[in-house]
C-alpha cells in the first residue's frame, strides 16, 4: 500500500504553477483602433468647421427659392434680410407679411405709391442703432451698413426696390445678394410656380 503524505508548502506552490501554466498567457488579438479614432476625430473637426463657416442660414422652401448665379464670390457676414413669398424676416425674425410677394399699401408710407415700408424701417433703424453702438465700443467692427438679401426668385422688382429703398433710409447701402452657385449645367430646382 502506498504511503499518503501531507503536501508541503513547496508542493502546493508547484501545484499552483502547474495549474496556472494550463491557461495560456493572454495575447492582444483585437485591432488597434487608435489610428481610426484619430481619423474620425479629424473628420469630425473638419465637418464642424465647415458647418461653422456657412454664415448663411438658408432653408429653401416653397416660399423661398433662391435664384442661381454664376458668381463664386464668398458670402460676407452681414445682417440677413429674407424676402419670401409670404414674409419679410430680419435676422430670422418675422417683421411683416407679404401678399404673394408684394407689400400691402397700408404698410407703406404714402400708400400704394410709397416706397418706405414702415415696419421694416423701424426694425432696421433699431438694428442700425445697435450696430453703431457696437462700432463705437469696438473699433474692429465698424458700421458698414451692409446687409445680405436672401430673396425668393419670383419676388417682383417693385417689392425689392421698396425693401432696398427702406434699407437706404436706415443707412444700409451695401447690398449682398445671396444666390446659389450654379452654371449652365446647374440642376433644375424643384418647380413650385
Amino acid at each position: 500500500m502506498a504511503d499518503v503524505k501531507q503536501a508541503s508548502a513547496a508542493q502546493v506552490k508547484a501545484a499552483i504553477r502547474r495549474k496556472v501554466k494550463k491557461h495560456p498567457e493572454h495575447t492582444e488579438e483585437g485591432l488597434n483602433i487608435y489610428p481610426m479614432m484619430d481619423m474620425m476625430t479629424i473628420i469630425l473637426v473638419f465637418l464642424i468647421m465647415q458647418f461653422a463657416e456657412e454664415s448663411v442660414d438658408i432653408m429653401q422652401s416653397e416660399d423661398l427659392q433662391i435664384p442661381t448665379s454664376i458668381s463664386r464670390q464668398e458670402v460676407t457676414d452681414a445682417l440677413a434680410i429674407q424676402i419670401t413669398r409670404a414674409d419679410i424676416l430680419v435676422d430670422n425674425r418675422r417683421v411683416m407679411g407679404l401678399r404673394n410677394g408684394t407689400v400691402d399699401p397700408s404698410q407703406k408710407q404714402g400708400g400704394a405709391n410709397g416706397f418706405l415700408i414702415t415696419p421694416l424701417h423701424s426694425e432696421m433703424t433699431q438694428h442700425r442703432d445697435r450696430l453703431k453702438l457696437i462700432a463705437q465700443r469696438n473699433p474692429n467692427r465698424p458700421f458698414r451698413g451692409s446687409v445680405q438679401i436672401i430673396a425668393d426668385r419670383r419676388t417682383p422688382f417693385r417689392t425689392l426696390s421698396e425693401v432696398i429703398y427702406t434699407m437706404g433710409q436706415a443707412e444700409f447701402s451695401e447690398l449682398h445678394f445671396i444666390v446659389l452657385q450654379g452654371g449652365t449645367n446647374a440642376p433644375t430646382p424643384p418647380r413650385g410656380e
Binding site: 508542493q11 435664384p67 448665379s69
Partner: protein
C-alpha cells in the same frame, strides 16, 4: 510508492491562486475603453454627412445704392461720365448712357422708345443659370456691354433698374451678364435704382 495528498485548506488555496480571470479589453492595456467614444463620434459624423445633403452652396453678388451728390464739382463735365444705365423692361433690355439710349447693336444712340437688346422669341427661350426658361437675351446684353467697354475701358460702374413686375431672378441674370464677359471684367460696380422711368 508514496503519494502526496492535499488537505482541504490547501486545495482551496490552490484553486484560489490558480483561478483564471477573463479580463476586459480595457483592462488588458490598462487604458480607458474608447470604443463607446468611437461609437458617438461615428454617429455624429453620420449625422453631419447626412445634413450636408440639405446644405446649399451659396455665393453672393454685391451691389450698392446710388450715392446722391449735392451739387457738382466746379468745372466737372457731366457729359464726360458714362452714367451707364441698364433697365430690364417687360419686352427687353434698355441700355442707356449720358447721351441717351443705345440702339440695337450698341454702337449708336437712338431717341424715343427703344429696346437695345430685344427678348428672345419665346419659342426658343433659353435656359438660364437656374435651369428655367428665360426670354431675356443675357448673352446679347453681355455683347452690347463689351462694345461699350471698348469705348470706356476705365468705366466700371453701371446702374440697374427694372420694371415693377420683373422677377428678382432676372435681376440676378442681368447682374451676371453685366459683371464680366467670360474672364474679361465689364461693369462689376453695380448700383440699384428704384426703377422709376
Amino acid at each position: 510508492m508514496s503519494s502526496v495528498q492535499f488537505s482541504t485548506r490547501q486545495k482551496a488555496y490552490i484553486r484560489k491562486k490558480s483561478k483564471h480571470h477573463e479580463l476586459d479589453p480595457s483592462e488588458l492595456s490598462g487604458e480607458l475603453n474608447i470604443i463607446p467614444f468611437l461609437d458617438i463620434v461615428v454617429n455624429i459624423i453620420m449625422c453631419l454627412l447626412l445634413m450636408t445633403a440639405y446644405i446649399v452652396v451659396a455665393s453672393e453678388l454685391d451691389a450698392r445704392l446710388p450715392i446722391t451728390s449735392r451739387g457738382g464739382r466746379a468745372g466737372a463735365n457731366p457729359e464726360a461720365t458714362l452714367n451707364l444705365t441698364v433697365t430690364i423692361a417687360e419686352n427687353g433690355i434698355i441700355v442707356a448712357g449720358s447721351g441717351g439710349k443705345l440702339a440695337p447693336g450698341c454702337t449708336a444712340m437712338q431717341p424715343g422708345r427703344v429696346i437695345t437688346v430685344a427678348n428672345l422669341p419665346s419659342a426658343s427661350a433659353d435656359l438660364n443659370n437656374d435651369g428655367l426658361p428665360d426670354v431675356y437675351d443675357w448673352a446679347g446684353l453681355t455683347r452690347c456691354l463689351a462694345t461699350v467697354k471698348l469705348q470706356f475701358p476705365d468705366e466700371s460702374q453701371v446702374i440697374v433698374s427694372a420694371d415693377p413686375n420683373v422677377e428678382y431672378r432676372h435681376l440676378i441674370g442681368a447682374m451676371d451678364a453685366m459683371r464680366a464677359d467670360g474672364e474679361l471684367p465689364l461693369f462689376p460696380a453695380i448700383m440699384l435704382s428704384a426703377g422709376v422711368r
